[in-house]
């Protein structure tokens, strides 16, 4: 079923200026089901994302956590279909407000990117055009998507820069990316992303390259904008601290699969997957003694070439059982938890190795 480009455009948010939010609620903004993404290399194929399904509700903040190589960036790129040349979405569905993005035509896709789904990347220096003034990079998208005039766009750009906390916004418009500090640049990158008032903002490790103090400011900013505009925020990170402070729900990824998902507070308090347990354990805690050692998860993540049977985490798991090596545990609701809390594990990490029913 192909998607009518005009239908996609019509259901987009109103071309209002910054500050007005679309009504939130419990409707799903973005639904991903069975997404599988593959990269081709000289040595074979890597399955970067394997059968991933989740739902993002309008206006909620979801964190996607995992180590480097777990597929989170591949997932993010798949959502907007901006995979590198050797990447391909094998199958799945990505539904934005009822329309399937994967069957959409090029023009429809163009209208979704930036206007309805926007992205912020980790390296702000690399994501901004080095030879174009930042003001123009902000207005570019606005003019293209909202059809407003150049003067109007510049006015809004100044307001946007103020909103994201860039001092002296009018001067900044004419400056180039390398003239700004890292924190300012990332604010500009965020301004670029939200300039067309998208429904979904995907932020891929937005604070990893910044100082800790700036990190907090950027996260604050993201939360503020999310609330103000009613955007859904997908925050991709390896930093549990970030997830804990910003997100409502979280999804834990390992080796291209979702291994646990649920509300952030519940997963933190009651993790059900050995990997999640390991991640939480390895974060240094303020109340731990100095003599205690940091608990690391032994071993290393799989390189993604071998499609062995069984749970991908089995080689490193302290709760591993015979069954785990032969069968791949499905993502299922955890016993004794809320229905939204799911984990892909045969064992019950609360008690030890007793199998789940």
């Amino acid at each position: 079923m192909s998607t009518d480009p005009s239908a996609l455009a019509m259901t987009a948010g109103s071309p209002a200026g910054p500050g007005e939010s679309t009504p939130g609620g419990t409707r799903a903004a973005l639904t991903v089901s069975g997404l599988t993404t593959v990269y081709g290399t000289t040595r074979g194929q890597i399955v970067a994302v394997q059968d991933v399904s989740f739902e993002i509700l309008a206006g909620e903040a979801v964190g996607i956590v995992g180590e480097s190589g777990c597929g989170k960036t591949a997932l993010a790129l798949s959502l907007v279909q901006l995979l590198p040349r050797n990447g391909r979405i094998e199958h799945g569905q990505i539904t934005l407000d009822g329309s399937d993005l994967l069957t959409a035509g090029k023009t429809a896709l163009r209208r979704v990117r930036g206007r309805r789904i926007a992205m912020v990347f980790q390296d702000s220096m690399a994501s901004l055009d080095p030879v174009m003034p930042v003001g123009r990079q902000i207005t570019e998208g606005m003019i293209s998507h909202l059809g407003i005039s150049r003067q109007e766009a510049r006015k809004r750009a100044v307001e946007l820069l103020e909103e994201v906390g860039v001092p002296e916004p009018t001067t900044r418009l004419r400056q180039f990316p390398h003239q700004l500090s890292g924190g300012l640049r990332q604010r500009v990158a965020i301004a670029v992303a939200i300039s067309a008032d998208p429904e979904v903002l995907i932020a891929d490790e937005p604070t990893t390259a910044l100082d800790v103090t700036i990190q907090a400011q950027i996260l604050d900013l993201l939360q503020r904008e999310q609330g103000r505009r009613g955007m859904a925020l997908i925050l991709i990170t390896h930093d549990l601290g970030v997830v804990g402070s910003v997100t409502d729900r979280m999804i834990v990824m390992y080796a291209g699969r979702v291994v646990e998902s649920g509300s952030t507070s519940e997963v933190f308090a009651d993790p059900r997957h050995p990997y999640t347990l390991g991640l939480l354990d390895s974060v240094p805690k303020l109340d731990a003694t100095i003599e205690g050692r940091l608990r690391a998860i032994p071993g290393s993540p799989p390189t993604g070439y071998s499609m062995t049977a069984g749970c991908p985490f089995a080689p490193r798991c302290s709760h591993v059982m015979q069954r785990c090596r032969g069968e791949d545990p499905p993502l299922a609701p955890v016993p004794g938890g809320r229905s939204a809390h799911e984990a892909a594990c045969f064992a019950d990490v609360r008690t030890g190795s007793a199998p789940r029913s």
């Binding site: 907007v80 901006l82 990117r113 926007a118 055009d129 180039f176 390398h178």
Partner: protein, 307 residues
């Protein structure tokens, strides 16, 4: 910005000085004895010594070099051993013809090479790309003077479209310009392709697409402007080799420029003319490179604002 220009200017002066050092050294080491020429073959020993004194050849080398530089600054490059005319008037008189040919050759190179390079990059690994790569490989391995002869034979003799003679006129400019420009265009296309491919692989281009900009806009507004800098520097870098090619091609077509002049002077052992041509040509290359660097600095804000 001014600091950058001044820096580059200073460097250009250094290079030109080095050039004069080499030409002076070569003149000094040449087997032709200017005193002998000056005094005449049948001069007595005393007359020979007088000649040496007059020409200042009995002074220490450094002094001679200094006087050489001073003369150069006044535009005096000596006299031709063959005709006795002032070298500067000989060389500079022929310079316009060479510059015209060089300009025409460069025009061919850019007009043919640039679009092909960009096209190949945009259609990476497709049929167009492969065709352009094959074509350019052939172009790169064809020396300009060989191509010159080929063109001369085909289009001035076999199918007499262009004149065979050596007049500095527009129709006569076509074949030599093509001989110069086509191999250059092949090289240039490959370089441009590589530069554009680099830019295409950059994160900010992906980000432009993530903003929902059309492919046209991405290419025209972002890719090209970012590849332009390296492209212009390339022309600058190439100019030295290019000018060398101009001088050789002049010989093939009998084009009345400084190149043909120089080759004649070499056969006649007319050292002053040879060295004079080398200085003028090398200076032209240095100046051209300087201009290219400055233009690039204007285009790339990173250079403008950081240095």
């Amino acid at each position: 910005m001014t600091r950058y220009i001044v820096g580059r200017l200073g460097w250009s002066v250094v290079v030109i000085l080095a050039i004069t050092l080499i030409t002076f050294g070569a003149t000094f080491l040449s087997p032709v004895d200017p005193a002998r020429l000056y005094a005449g073959l049948r001069a007595t020993h005393a007359q020979y010594e007088l000649a040496r004194q007059t020409l200042g050849l009995n002074r220490p080398i450094i002094v001679q070099y200094y006087r050489y530089l001073v003369r150069l600054l006044h535009g005096n490059m000596g006299q031709s051993y063959s005709t006795g005319e002032s070298v500067s008037s000989i060389v500079l008189g022929r310079l316009p013809a060479t510059m015209a040919l060089a300009a025409a050759g460069l025009a061919v190179e850019v007009v043919v090479g640039l679009p092909l390079g960009v096209l190949a990059a945009l259609r990476w690994q497709g049929k167009t790309d492969r065709a352009i790569l094959s074509g350019s490989l052939l172009g790169v391995v064809t020396p300009q003077f060989v191509l010159g002869f080929l063109l001369l034979y085909l289009f001035a003799y076999r199918f007499p479209i262009f004149p065979l003679g050596a007049t500095a006129s527009l129709p006569a400019l076509v074949l030599p310009a093509l001989a110069l420009g086509l191999p250059g265009a092949a090289w240039y296309a490959r370089m441009v392709r590589s530069s554009v491919l680099n830019v295409l692989g950059e994160d900010y281009i992906r980000n432009c697409r993530a903003k929902g900009l059309s492919e046209w806009v991405v290419v025209l507004r972002h890719v090209l402007r970012n590849s332009a800098g390296p492209a212009i520097t390339m022309i600058g870098l190439d100019f030295g080799i290019f000018l060398g090619g101009v001088l050789v091609v002049e010989q093939v077509f009998g084009w009345p420029g400084i190149g043909q002049q120089m080759w004649n002077a070499i056969s006649a052992n007319d050292i002053p003319v040879v060295m004079g041509t080398v200085i003028v040509a090398a200076a032209a290359v240095v100046i051209f490179n300087l201009v290219a660097d400055i233009v690039n600095a204007f285009l790339d804000p990173r250079i403008k604002y950081t240095r």
